[in-house]
């Protein structure tokens, strides 16, 4: 096996062991079933999603998660304030942006996380452009979308 496959095997195996430990709430009975489940899950994951060319940088992933968490808190507070004020707080519109991320999961992640970000909602993603619905055109929505795009881009590392 290639070293990449070994690496993925170990990482995913450990992740599934942790998941099993969480699911059984740390109990020790039933470890045999757990071992079976971990092996089955790791094998399935390696078969269905073999380690690809694009690896995720751990530091980039952490930064992305922090960015995402903070943005969803801001987004929730913003939309809650607008709901309190009613529709006169809104200035909705559609905007189009050129996508800079490579196709595949980075773009899918972008369009889906935008829905949870402040003021933006992914409506359509075509080959080159992304169409967004925004709650308030006066807000710096393009800057928010670009910041998210940059956060995703920092997670990517090309290998091979």
């Amino acid at each position: 096996m290639r070293s990449e496959t070994w690496r993925a095997l170990v990482l995913r195996g450990v992740a599934f062991m942790l998941l099993w430990w969480v699911l059984v709430e740390g109990r020790h009975d039933g470890w045999a079933l757990g071992a079976l489940a971990v092996v089955a899950a790791t094998w399935t994951s390696l078969t269905l999603a073999p380690p690809g060319r694009r690896r995720i940088r751990p530091a980039g992933l952490l930064a992305f998660l922090g960015f995402f968490l903070w943005s969803s808190i801001r987004g929730g507070m913003q939309v809650a304030a607008m709901a309190m004020r009613g529709r006169r707080a809104l200035r909705p519109g559609l905007i189009e942006l050129a996508v800079r991320l490579p196709p595949g999961w980075p773009r899918i992640l972008l369009v889906n996380t935008l829905t949870l970000m402040p003021g933006t909602l992914g409506v359509e993603l075509s080959r080159k452009t992304l169409r967004l619905h925004v709650l308030d055109e006066r807000l710096p929505v393009v800057a928010e979308a670009r910041a998210l795009e940059a956060a995703i881009a920092r997670m990517l590392r090309r290998t091979g």
Binding site: E25, V79, L116
Partner: protein
């Protein structure tokens, strides 16, 4: 009550407030797009607060992590369903409401 208990209670109340804001947005916003904003953002943040509040007073670390595991799953669900609804609304030809339109 300890400080953790107070924090947990506070998070539960704040979470409930966000759920309320989400429902309020659903009732008051003019079209499907803006309602989607309200539900996707406010309800998910509310759920995150509630789950964190419950996790703080869980009996063990594993139970706390199990509660927190629910959040990313629901976020995935909301993101996927939200995108599908927005797409659907567009293919149905629904124009976004603009300030000045009739309700």
């Amino acid at each position: 009550m300890s400080a953790i208990d107070w924090l947990s209670a506070l998070l539960l109340v704040v979470g409930a407030a966000f759920f309320f804001a989400g429902t309020l947005g659903l009732l008051r916003f003019p079209d499907v797009y803006s309602r989607l904003h309200a539900l996707a953002k406010a309800d998910n943040l509310g759920l995150g607060c509630v789950l964190l509040g419950l996790a703080l007073r869980a009996d063990s670390l594993a139970v706390a992590m199990k509660l927190l595991l629910i959040w990313p799953l629901v976020l995935t669900a909301s993101a996927g369903v939200g995108f599908a609804i927005a797409r659907r609304a567009q293919t149905l030809g629904i124009r976004p409401w603009r300030q000045g339109d009739a309700p």
